[in-house]
């Protein structure tokens, strides 16, 4: 398991080249990368605030649950905080398992939990000022499928 909460950018390609290698039981690797999207065409930047200490612990707990439930051979979560601009990569998740269904489900589970249960808050800054991004009901609903 590898969990990193950092301000710096990361290199998805380099991370994935090294991920899940050398384990004869790994048949499937799934990755997700989240990117700052300029939804309305007026986004200057996004600032992500987090809760140092709790963030790392909350993510590690999620990854432990996913590893146990889907028998993951390896897992990686990188999540940035601070200032990001459209096109910048915010975060990534990678999972390695024997079979594709386990790798996909574990990655989706981690994404659903990161969206609504990891202590990050996004604020968007544009020409019209700034505003905190509201949590979406659909993201909260997405969690229920893992009960």
């Amino acid at each position: 398991m590898d969990v990193r909460v950092q301000g710096d950018a990361f290199d998805v390609g380099a991370e994935l080249s090294a991920f899940g290698q050398g384990d004869a039981n790994v048949g499937a690797v799934v990755s997700f990368t989240g990117i700052v999207r300029d939804v309305a065409g007026g986004l200057d930047r996004m600032e992500i605030e987090h809760y140092p200490g709790m963030t790392e612990k909350a993510i590690a707990t999620m990854v432990d649950k996913a590893s146990a439930r889907w028998g993951l051979a390896d897992s990686l979560v990188i999540h940035r905080y601070g200032v990001m601009r459209p096109g910048d990569q915010i975060m990534m998740v990678a999972t390695a398992a024997r079979h594709r269904v386990a790798a996909f489900e574990a990655a989706e589970f981690l994404m659903d939990y990161l969206k609504s249960r990891a202590p990050f808050w996004k604020k968007e800054f544009g020409a019209d000022g700034s505003s905190w991004v509201d949590a979406k009901d659909e993201d909260e609903d997405a969690l229920s499928r893992w009960d």
């Binding site: 989240g34 605030e49 809760y51 200490g53 709790m54 612990k57 909350a58 999540h79 915010i90 975060m91 994404m111 990161l114 969206k115 609504s116 249960r117 990891a118 202590p119 990050f120 808050w121 996004k122 604020k123 905190w132 991004v133 509201d134 949590a135 909260e140």
Partner: protein
């Protein structure tokens, strides 16, 4: 004495990220009542508890959770990670 932390728009409304609070509140809800009574900015930040989440010693908790033994209380809006 507990360390109370605020994040995102809760932090902005309170005007500071953290403070030491001298309290004998039995639960989170009791602590919120005490804070609300302090000043207008607290009343505004805590006006709608359904829009808030709370963590006790860095674990998500409910507003009726007891505060006994807790060192760090954090208030924030629903998370928007990922």
């Amino acid at each position: 004495m507990v360390e109370v932390m605020y994040f995102a728009w809760v932090r902005e409304r309170i005007g500071e990220p953290r403070e030491q609070v001298d309290t004998n509140a039995a639960t989170v809800a009791d602590l919120v009542e005490e804070l609300r009574a302090r000043e207008e900015r607290y009343a505004v930040a805590f006006s709608d508890l359904s829009a808030l989440r709370v963590a006790l010693d860095q674990e998500l908790a409910d507003f009726d959770a007891p505060l006994a033994g807790v060192r760090e209380v954090a208030f924030f809006p629903p998370m928007t990670g990922g």
